[in-house]
């Protein structure tokens, strides 16, 4: 029988027990998450219900977690007031509180783990939480992911100005934050999402100038189309947005083009709401290692679930839109691709796809190296997507490494789907076949000083080494097998810099 050794430099045993442990941790306090928390609390479990709203103004500026689009009032700067506002906007939070659930608003969940290959060292299922000051870990027995859905963004000329935003973000800014700064909207899309967005806006006394649809007919249900028409809002089918006109305060109008005649006109508006598609917020599930798959009827890459609740991980379940967005059409991804095809045909190739890294569509398709590397070499200039595909199918993670699209601070929220759609269009593939660009913790871009483990365990500090801490690894080659070898290891040991 082998005497099992112990590597003091390995990570096992170095993570402290979590700061708090609950039986049920719910991430996301929308209707589904709040409902799950109430049910669990009434069932006698200790419950922590976490919601990141109100998010820090800096994250709103980064279009995280929703596509906020810069159309918000200064109120978002006042977090304490915003916490009250968010609490008041969801009456069921009171009920959850009464039922005994602990509620944390303005708290991000930036990662979660339940073990699995390469994760034997964790002290049990654990989630990483943070506010704007510090981060901490919470243990759980069961995790309910109720992170909802987010807007899918589409690039056209001028889309990077304040005032171009997503439908979910509009709802959140109006309803949850009471901090929407726009008045008159143009809405992209004509499916139920767009129609419902229009009716929502009208109900909040906002003006809706028009809905714009690249396809030849409205997509949504007849009832909703009737309601929107009755409100006097035109649906411009067979039209594409070609230019968001803007000034100092962002959007002032939207230029649209009739696809058949080529006639162009400008719609006066201060906000362009992209209501073409939403997709489940699966980033936490990807970090957890839950099985995800492209499921167009659920809005894109969504968790694999037999019943809309269970995941491939025993400790993790789903609630609400993260399991799949009920109202999306069966061909949601094909519809997105139809939009992308038209936008590629009607916009300049120099349009920026990745705002953070300023990657244009042209650069993406040329697999062009980033501008900071200067002029490409002759070999580089001769490389493009077509040649890359000779070596294997399009992989967004590989394209990302080469072009930097999706590598910026917004963590690809504005361009992840667009890059996949663009690759699909360029290769005459279905976007359903393009793999998901992977997510990594932290799934919220939080500052070093906030994430930092200022209170790390003594076991961690005491054994920390730059690399594996194998003393012989750094012995100068000439000294190997000489008496200097022991001397060297004695003086320098590990902690050598590679």
């Amino acid at each position: 029988m082998t005497q099992r050794g112990f590597d003091p430099k390995a990570v096992a045993g170095k993570h402290p027990a979590p700061e708090q442990s609950v039986e049920v941790l719910v991430i996301g306090a929308g209707p589904a998450g709040t409902g799950a928390a109430i049910a669990a609390a009434k069932g006698g479990a200790t419950v922590l219900l976490v919601d990141e709203n109100p998010v820090d103004a800096g994250l709103i500026g980064l279009d995280t977690p929703l596509y906020w689009g810069g159309r918000y009032t200064g109120a978002v700067q006042t977090k304490a007031r915003m916490v009250e506002q968010v609490f008041a906007a969801n009456p069921r939070l009171e009920e959850a509180f009464e039922a005994g659930a602990e509620i944390s608003l303005g708290v991000y969940c930036w990662g979660a783990w339940v073990g699995g290959e390469g994760l034997a060292s964790l002290p049990g299922p654990v989630a990483g939480l943070a506010d704007d000051e510090r981060a901490w870990m919470v243990g759980f027995e069961r995790l309910v992911v109720a992170t909802g859905a987010r807007d899918v963004a589409f690039a056209f000329q001028g889309w990077d100005q304040p005032g171009v935003m997503g439908a979910r973000a509009l709802c959140a800014l109006v309803q949850t934050y009471d901090a929407f700064a726009g008045r008159r909207l143009a809405i992209l899309g004509s499916g139920d999402l767009a129609l419902e967005t229009a009716l929502f806006a009208l109900g909040r006394r906002l003006e809706v100038a028009a809905l714009i649809e690249v396809e030849d007919a409205s997509r949504g249900s007849q009832a909703l189309i009737g309601e929107v028409a009755a409100a006097g809002v035109p649906i411009l089918t067979g039209h594409a947005p070609v230019l968001a006109l803007g000034g100092l305060d962002g959007v002032e109008g939207l230029g649209v083009r009739a696809l058949e005649s080529g006639a162009q006109r400008v719609i006066a508006c201060d906000t362009v709401v992209q209501a073409i598609a939403v997709t489940p917020v699966v980033e936490l599930l990807d970090v957890l290692g839950a099985r995800l798959a492209m499921q167009p009827t659920l809005g894109g890459h969504a968790p694999v679930s037999p019943d809309g609740t269970a995941t491939s991980l025993a400790q993790v379940s789903l609630a609400g839109d993260v399991a799949g967005v009920a109202s999306v059409p069966r061909d949601a991804v094909a519809y997105q691709q139809a939009w992308m095809r038209v936008l590629i045909a009607t916009s300049d190739a120099g349009v920026i796809l990745c705002q953070c890294e300023a990657v244009t569509r042209e650069a993406l398709l040329a697999v062009r190296q980033p501008a900071y590397l200067g002029e490409p070499s002759a070999g580089m200039a001769a490389r493009d997507l077509g040649r890359l595909l000779e070596d294997g199918p399009a992989n967004p993670d590989q394209i990302k490494r080469l072009t930097r699209a999706g590598m910026g601070p917004c963590q690809g929220r504005r361009c992840r789907e667009q890059v996949a759609l663009t690759l699909a269009c360029a290769t005459n593939e279905s976007a359903e076949r393009v793999p998901l660009a992977g997510y990594r913790a932290p799934v919220r871009p939080l500052p070093l000083k906030v994430l930092a483990a200022w209170d790390e365990a003594a076991e961690m500090s005491g054994q920390w080494d730059v690399w594996f801490g194998i003393p012989g690894q750094w012995t100068p080659y000439a000294d190997i097998g000489t008496e200097r070898e022991a001397l060297h290891q004695g003086v320098l040991g590990g902690d050598m810099h590679l």
């Binding site: 099992r4 390995a10 070596d391 730059v466």
Partner: protein, 393 residues
């Protein structure tokens, strides 16, 4: 243009990481018909997930590493984002002494290293704070972008007529009459005159059936990256228990700290999770560079790397089968890769490394290693509970 990957080659390299790709590129430079087979996408494992450092004074390939890096962009014809030099600095007196020892060792090898006082450190690393206790400035070495470098090797190889078969996992080495005749893959068999195995953690399982014992233990190591900061005069700035660099884009990418041993089978790792260790890394980056403490961490990642029992590479052309060359860099492979490829190509073509003595990196040193060496060292997957129990002993 990459040719068809449906037929064999004079030399087949199993493993499209930096080591295998560099070896193939060197072989193609010598006019050899070469085919690289990778189980997935080139550079997808540790080769594309590391710190990018290129200053490996411990290695017999060090001089060649230093000679080649400044030439690589030109030789390959593609950017590697290589930046020269390195500043390592400390925030404790203990670390300053340690770094000065390293400096002496490098000077002994004939390379210039300057000692830096805290003021000089801050000139090189304006994001450093008043906690600096001192540092060293390596007037050699440097760092490159691993992902771009992997692709540069691959493209340069293709430009020379070499071929790369992605999504083509070698499942078996085929031998006949005491020689390797090819490899089997799910896409069929590929014949070759010489085989190079540079398959990282998977190499052990691939070699065992032909009677070659290459003892390896696989582990996961992690890094984090921040949003961009203003460019510092030297990109290779690290210390405080971290390795890493500022990318040319300005992002700070750092790793270090404890690893997690994990079992990896012949198919390779099925997951490469990064973990809450990112908090410990974030802390050390914020301590090293207080001027960057407000920067957002935008990603983390993990790579799975292998180590030999003594932590040193194996680069060896075997006696039996004589047309088989094996290479593992024992978790320190990226920076040395320009030189490693050269050495491997030499072994294949000349039977020996022409520019350095690498005899001590032969596989023979492990012939008597006990079967349970991993368990004896504790280099196996260990749970939190097992570790707590072991530390309590």
């Amino acid at each position: 243009m990459s040719g068809p990957t449906t037929s064999g080659a004079s030399v087949i390299v199993v493993g499209g990481g930096v080591t295998g790709l560099s070896a193939a590129w060197w072989l193609a430079r010598a006019g050899v018909d070469v085919l690289v087979l990778d189980k997935r996408v080139i550079g997808w494992e540790a080769s594309g997930r590391n710190g990018g450092g290129a200053s490996h004074y411990q290695s017999p390939l060090f001089h060649e590493e230093q000679r080649l890096w400044p030439l690589m962009d030109e030789l390959l014809g593609y950017s590697t984002e290589y930046r020269r030099e390195r500043v390592i600095f400390a925030t404790t007196d203990h670390h300053v002494d340690h770094y000065r020892q390293m400096a002496r060792m490098c000077r002994d090898l004939g390379y210039r290293v300057d000692d830096l006082d805290p003021w000089q450190v801050r000139d090189f690393a304006p994001l450093a704070g008043d906690t600096v206790t001192g540092g060293i400035h390596l007037r050699f070495g440097g760092q490159a972008n691993p992902q771009r470098t992997v692709q540069a090797y691959a493209w340069a190889l293709q430009d020379l007529g070499g071929r790369i078969g992605q999504h083509t996992r070698a499942t078996r080495i085929v031998t006949a009459g005491g020689k390797v005749t090819g490899v089997e893959t799910p896409r069929g068999a590929f014949a070759c005159d010489h085989l190079v195995i540079a398959a990282g953690p998977q190499s052990e399982a691939l070699l065992a059936p032909v009677g070659v014992r290459l003892p390896l233990a696989a582990a996961r190591a992690e890094m984090i990256v921040t949003e961009p900061a203003p460019l510092m005069p030297v990109g290779g700035v690290d210390g405080n228990g971290l390795y890493g660099r500022q990318t040319l884009r300005g992002n700070l990418a750092y790793g270090g700290g404890p690893h997690e041993w994990m079992a990896v089978d012949a198919a390779g790792p099925s997951a490469r999770p990064s973990t809450p260790l990112l908090r410990n890394l974030a802390r050390r980056v914020a301590e090293l560079l207080p001027g960057a403490a407000h920067l957002r961490v935008i990603r983390s990642w993990a790579g799975v790397v292998e180590n030999t029992p003594d932590g040193r590479p194996v680069i060896d052309r075997l006696a039996d089968p004589a047309n088989l060359t094996v290479a593992t860099m024992s978790s320190v492979g990226f920076g040395l890769s320009p030189a490693t490829g050269h050495a491997i190509a030499d072994l294949v073509l000349e039977g020996r490394c022409t520019f350095a003595d690498i005899d001590k990196l032969s596989i023979a040193r492990f012939k008597d290693i006990p079967a349970d060496w991993r368990e004896q060292k504790g280099w196996v997957a260990t749970t939190h509970g097992e570790a707590i129990a072991a530390m309590g002993r």
